[in-house]
Amino acid sequence: MSALPRAHELGVIGCHICGLVCRDAGVEDAACPRCGAELHRRKPDSCARTWALLVAAFLLYIPANVLPIMRTVSLGDVDDNTILSGVIELWVKGSPDLAVIVFTASIVVPMMKFLVMTTLLLSVHRGTNWARTQRSKLFRLVEFIGYWSMLDVFVVSLLTALVQFGFFSQVEPLPGVVYFGLTVVLTMLASMSFDPRLIWDCKDEDD
């Protein structure tokens, strides 16, 4: 046994919900004695679910970027904004610092999530030993920053509610924002269904 024993080596299971250390009875549908949640060593069908959610999120991310998310009507002048053109507008007209924040939340974070989750899934499939600590850290980062992508959805909602001056000025949400909101939710679900324990499940050689 290695210096750092893992749960299955000691015949115990950590409850995924409440964290209680339970003895592994070896039965299929054991429940946690403390919180009543089902006990399992790994999240069920983790890879398949994560792949499915990730692919779905990516498919929705395409219309989210291509379609405009917001229409600004000003004295009959109609202007449709996509996520990227909104960032550019902020950069050019007002504050580059906020443009950077919006760019990070709406483009960098989702792209990073796609890349990181794909990397994690592929490396788990291959069962590689490569950079496990770093991969584990990447997963925690994705988990932590994931929901900040909702920023643009809230901005569009706020502006829609605010700017309602009839003919003079109006802001309307366009379908892009719906796709984007769904992308964020799906990527969050994807990172929740991924089991980071799988990263460490390959054979130890360097321990």
């Binding site: 210096a3 750092l4 024993p5 893992r6 000691l10 015949g11 115990v12 950590g14 919900i17 409440c18 964290g19 209680l20 250390v21 003895r23 004695p33 403390r34 919180c35 009543g36 060593r41 909104g86 902020l90 007002g94 504050s95 906020l98 924040i101 919006v102 939340a105 600590t133 584990s136 850290k137 997963f139 925690r140 929901y147 900040w148 909702m150 920023l151 959805v153 809230f154 901005v155 569009v156 909602s157 706020l158 502006l159 829609t160 509610a161 605010l162 700017v163 309602q164 001056f165 003079f168 000025s169 309307e172 949400p173 719906v178 769904l182 939710v185 980071p196 324990r197 990263i199 460490w200």
Partner: protein, 215 residues
């Protein structure tokens, strides 16, 4: 600071609070009391296992009550005021949600209502309920089930993102209009600070801090 792993004899009991399993890599650690400000990290993957909890049940209850008061303010008062030619529009959170629904973005309306209103509300009320009983050393009715529900709600509360959204909206609208932050936004800012304080608290400690009473 990391803890050395334990041997097998501890694993024989059904429930073993002396052990701690890293939820990121399944490594078993022996639990050790933490001193002020200490954080226990997993030796294998460096994830945080446990933090020293300086805020007890009473402190948490006080925090939850504060959050509730601030949350009510944040929802009652308008968040941003916008003026054009003497006309003024003030908007509240529910104004935003209703407007998105009317503008054919029902999905967004539901997302906003959930992440900014219902989930935070559920979390606060649940926590308040559990802690109110916890203060007198008892487990509230439905303790176990509510703790599980809270575990699932937790990632879906996004009030702090909304605060940043308000900031960006003010700057964006400022390009064309006369915008002013209203009282609601200060309530949201206070809420964001309180949420940050709360993020250091592991709610799961309540399982240990409020023991099951023997009937």
């Amino acid at each position: 600071m990391s803890l050395p792993p334990s041997s097998t004899e501890h694993a024989q009991k059904v429930a073993t609070p002396a052990l701690l399993i890293c939820e990121y890599c399944d490594t078993v650690h022996r639990r050790r009391p933490l001193a002020y400000g200490e954080v226990a990290r997993c030796l294998r993957c460096q994830a945080v296992l446990e933090r020293h909890q300086r805020i007890g049940v009473n402190g948490m209850f006080a925090l939850v009550v504060t959050v509730m008061v601030v949350f009510v303010q944040a929802n009652v008062w308008p968040i941003i005021t916008l003026g054009l030619n003497g006309e003024q529009i003030r908007t509240t959170l529910w104004g935003i949600i209703v407007m998105m629904w009317k503008e054919h973005s029902q999905v967004v309306a539901v997302l906003a209502a959930g992440t900014l209103f219902f989930f935070p509300l559920c979390k606060m009320l649940t926590l308040g309920w559990l802690l109110a009983y916890g203060r007198i050393g008892r487990r509230a009715p439905g303790f176990g089930r509510l703790m599980v529900i809270m575990h699932y709600i937790n990632p879906w509360t996004m009030s702090e993102v909304f605060v940043l959204g308000v900031l960006v909206s003010i700057v964006k609208a400022h390009l064309y209009f006369d915008v002013k932050p209203d009282i609601g936004v200060f309530a949201y800012a206070a809420l964001a600070v309180l949420i940050t304080i709360f993020s250091g608290i592991d709610v799961r400690q309540l399982w240990d801090k409020i023991p099951e009473q023997v009937p």
